[in-house]
């Protein structure tokens, strides 16, 4: 653990203690403290690229974290929840991940307001709680392709039961001002008018399904790209400048199914992002996963795929007229290429060992095939050296308390 992590951890623990002790003064009956953590080590076998921060040497800092959740029940149907997180990855903020008030006006209704996690996909709002899912790294094609994970706003959840179906509908609205993570970079992002709904349920006790829709207006400030686009605009290459625009609207559609039995499980999840800008191009991703349970071990296999729809570069900068324009043409092509997403295919074989009631150990290997791209691989040196194949090896320990 590095000094930075210790510092963040101390700060998080200190904050929690303050919360806990002041709340405990009021009443210990009303207070619930829980938490989760994970220690994850991983490396890739390819020295030419980095992937999700992993390189060709063992790293413990990419996903290792510790979190504390404090629930304080103000009234029988009103509570305050705060989740404090200390992360070893310097690209991730440590601090208050969740802070919301929840109100249960009726047994089947739940209203929440404050800072929460965006419920894009099945595991999006528990992406840091490795204990909740089978993998060490959930399929990157869905869970990392578009990474702003918090919003500030309100959410209303209604639960209902119909014959053999027990379901819930959630609607939420909010905004986000913070950073979006692309590989190892973080870029200032504004998300406005974020709204969505989630329909989820269980049919016949063991078949779960989930469908959701999310829409928002976004703007990302990628400093060096915006500066270059301004430069292009100032010399009259408006189409080229526009093609590097970092703002617009996106829509995300998601559908998922999961079957859980005592001795096996199957899951499938699909999503599609539609957007009118280059930076968040149209993306379609899915995974299929199957697991066999040999209690206390679960062996699982996952195939995941992401298909992107590449945008075309603008053609208003002429080539072959003057040396200066040629230089600008190539500079534009390079910058444009950097904003492009690439397809990504992967196969993951993993094992989870539930060593105790609240502790699990995991090991997994993922074989990836894909090109350099804004949410896939980042070149560490020569861009042409990469053979578009990488294996990622990871070991992890997950716990909850």
């Amino acid at each position: 653990m590095n000094a930075n992590f210790n510092h963040k951890l101390t700060a998080a623990v200190f904050c929690s203690c303050l919360l806990v002790s002041s709340a405990a003064l009021a009443s210990s009956e009303k207070l619930e403290i829980s938490g989760f953590g994970r220690v994850v080590a991983g490396f890739t076998d390819d020295p030419d690229v980095s992937f999700e921060g992993y390189e060709n040497e063992l790293s413990l800092k990419e996903q290792t974290l510790l979190a504390l959740q404090v629930d304080y029940h103000l009234l029988e149907n009103v509570s305050i929840t705060s989740q404090l997180l200390a992360h070893t990855n310097s690209e991730r903020d440590s601090g208050v991940e969740w802070l919301y008030v929840s109100y249960i006006p009726h047994n089947n209704w739940l209203v929440k307001g404050g800072r929460m996690r965006t419920p894009f996909y099945h595991y999006s709002d528990v992406i840091d709680v490795g204990f909740a899912y089978p993998w060490i790294s959930p399929p990157q094609q869905l869970y990392s392709a578009f990474l702003f994970n918090q919003y500030e706003g309100a959410s209303v959840i209604h639960n209902f039961a119909l014959e053999n179906l027990s379901g819930s509908v959630e609607g939420y609205y909010g905004s986000f001002n913070g950073d979006t993570q692309f590989q190892d970079r973080r870029d200032a992002t504004d998300i406005d008018g974020l709204s969505g709904f989630v329909f989820s349920g269980v049919y016949n006790a063991n078949l779960r399904f989930r469908a959701s829709y999310t829409t928002a207006d976004f703007s990302v400030n990628l400093a060096e790209i915006s500066a270059f686009a301004d430069q292009l605009r100032s010399v009259g290459f408006v189409a080229s400048a526009d093609s590097l625009a970092m703002e617009g609207e996106f829509d995300i559609y998601q559908v998922g199914l999961a079957l859980d039995e005592l001795d096996y499980n199957l899951a499938w999840e699909w999503m599609k992002i539609e957007s009118d800008t280059v930076l968040a191009p149209n993306i379609e991703s899915y995974y299929v996963q199957g697991g066999l349970v040999f209690q206390p071990f679960t062996v699982h296999l996952t195939y995941a795929d992401m298909a992107t729809n590449p945008q075309s570069a603008a053609t208003d900068i002429p080539l072959g007229l003057t040396a200066d324009l040629d230089q600008l043409f190539y500079a534009y092509q390079t910058v444009f290429a950097r904003t492009q997403a690439a397809d990504l295919e992967s196969v993951t074989l993993g094992v989870r060992w539930d060593a105790g009631v609240r502790v699990a150990f995991k090991a997994e290997v993922t074989h990836y095939r894909g090109a350099l791209g804004i949410s896939t691989f980042e070149a560490l040196g020569d861009r042409d050296a990469f053979d578009e194949r990488v294996n990622l090896y990871q070991l992890g320990m997950e716990f909850v308390f």
Binding site: F36, Y100, V126, N159, A161, D263, D354, V357
Partner: protein
């Protein structure tokens, strides 16, 4: 189907592990008891599963559970919930840390559990089929009849 059945048998044997030695058939059955005004209520397996997994249900009862690693809970997990204890723990970590719902209250012994349900209206719990329960509680489901 035959393979699945054998796997299930193996799994049951593993789940019960050492508890299975000297255990009678009755110890591998549980009953679900509730503190209700209406003593004629009977629920099916899906209703009970929904109650104990925090899903919406037609009946509104507060579920109370025994701790993990008790035989009655292993039987309940296998015969009613249909999931292993580890899968259930993983499910509750998702529910709790996403602020959706919390696992049932846990009471450490069968006697204390029965006493809690006896004194709290609209609560429901599972107990070994051999347990003695007060007359004012209603047996709403039993695996022994399966």
């Amino acid at each position: 189907m035959h393979i699945t059945h054998s796997l299930r048998q193996m799994l049951m044997a593993l789940l019960f592990g050492i508890y299975a030695i000297n255990a009678t058939a009755q110890e591998h059955d549980i009953m679900v008891v509730a503190n209700l005004d209406n003593h004629t209520v009977k629920l099916d397996k899906i209703d009970i599963r929904n109650l104990f997994m925090g899903n919406a249900s037609d009946v509104v009862l507060e579920p109370v559970s025994l701790p993990p690693q008790t035989l009655a809970r292993a039987v309940f997990n296998t015969k009613i919930i249909g999931l292993t204890e580890s899968r259930i723990q993983s499910y509750w970590s998702q529910m709790r840390f996403s602020g959706r719902s919390r696992p049932p209250r846990e009471i450490s012994t069968v006697d204390e559990l029965i006493s809690y349900v006896s004194s709290h209206k609209d609560t429901v719990a599972f107990v070994p089929a051999s347990a003695r329960i007060p007359a004012h509680l209603t047996v709403i489901y039993s695996t022994a009849k399966m």
